[in-house]
Point group: C2
Chain length 246, copies 2
Amino acid sequence: MVIKIVYINPVGTSAFDKPMKEFLDNYRSPDTDITVVSLEKGPWHLEYYSYDALVIPDVLKVIREFEGRGYDAAIIGCFYDPGLHEAREVSDMVITAPGESSMHIASTLGDRFSIIVGRRKWIPLMEQNVVKYGFRDKLVSFEAVELGVWDFHKDVEETKRRLIRAAKNAVDKGAEVLILGCTVLFGFFKDLEKEVGVPVVDPIIASLKYAEFLVELKRRMGWTWSRIGMYEKPPREEIEKWRLPL
Amino acid sequence: MVIKIVYINPVGTSAFDKPMKEFLDNYRSPDTDITVVSLEKGPWHLEYYSYDALVIPDVLKVIREFEGRGYDAAIIGCFYDPGLHEAREVSDMVITAPGESSMHIASTLGDRFSIIVGRRKWIPLMEQNVVKYGFRDKLVSFEAVELGVWDFHKDVEETKRRLIRAAKNAVDKGAEVLILGCTVLFGFFKDLEKEVGVPVVDPIIASLKYAEFLVELKRRMGWTWSRIGMYEKPPREEIEKWRLPL
């Protein structure tokens, strides 16, 4: 039975849509159909927290649209996981994001993990997510390679060199598994695994496979968001009265 | 492509093998083939820590045997997860267990979970596992119904009444998702969900679906146990020299 998944690049450029779709198609299960979209407007990367906040309303809008079209799952394609909990609050679809998905996988494959990021700027928000998801005790370190989102594919060899150095630092500190902490680092995981000898979790694949897993749990057992507490839905009357786009 | 999974009841009775096989077959993916086995000797339940310790060598033996027969995964069917990390240390198969699998699922479906167990006796070891797996911040409470493993199916209505009471206590304390903390509580989750209105994770289904998920990660991306740190393998020479059954 087909699983329809929309992967959302929460940025105002479609530059990554095609390469990410091609990459994800290599790793999807045969029953999965992936659509990759981006936003109509907005920042071209989310390195600043204010940019991240700006895109969430548009991400929610895209999710509502694809839910209306009968999709099974949406993936919010940024390692900050922007709007992950807000989306689960209003949507009955499966929603995943790279940060949460990668941490579940990494903490199963070994005792503790490190996350390799572009810039130091990104670390506090991602560390807050580690704590929010409950993985505080599983985190060894963040390692910054001091490259921005748009630098990663400029000089791929230099990016690899920096990733390898960061990966080795993390392993020296005790990391048993590594996570690439930016969706635009897609595709680097295999080279890095060969160099460092530990599993390296590619965050966009992680979010895809976790989405497939959660769709399976929902379809076969009916397990989905608890509506008591964090994912309690806002009342439909309020949403309509206040004309909220939710 | 077929996924061959062995579900091990780590007790010296085959009483649960048939009903668990039938139950699991309702929830497996179409490609999964499940074999359920138990041990040739040993305690008939694992309510005591000393019993739990006794069965681990035999669980490892069964795992080695099924790995030799080309199986993809083994599930260690007790909520204490006996031998989970020891098995991953020596086996290249996917290994899952109900405790770890249930906690990953529960902490995704809501913010925090409670675990419903039979006897208070069980709680300290299970709580140590919660901490070991990194889910300390996700745990609301343990709730004991004061029934032993062999009592659950004696008076099913009384068991349900006690489970419902425990489930409501947990939700009152803030649990958004519930986990049944004993494999012999298989099959109670649906009634409980109807009564309490939150997702209730059946531990044996959780361990099955998590095994299928990890097999998919291994086959498609090659992600499996990190061999640096916790899951470093013991040297083959030592094992042979000391004639260890590993």
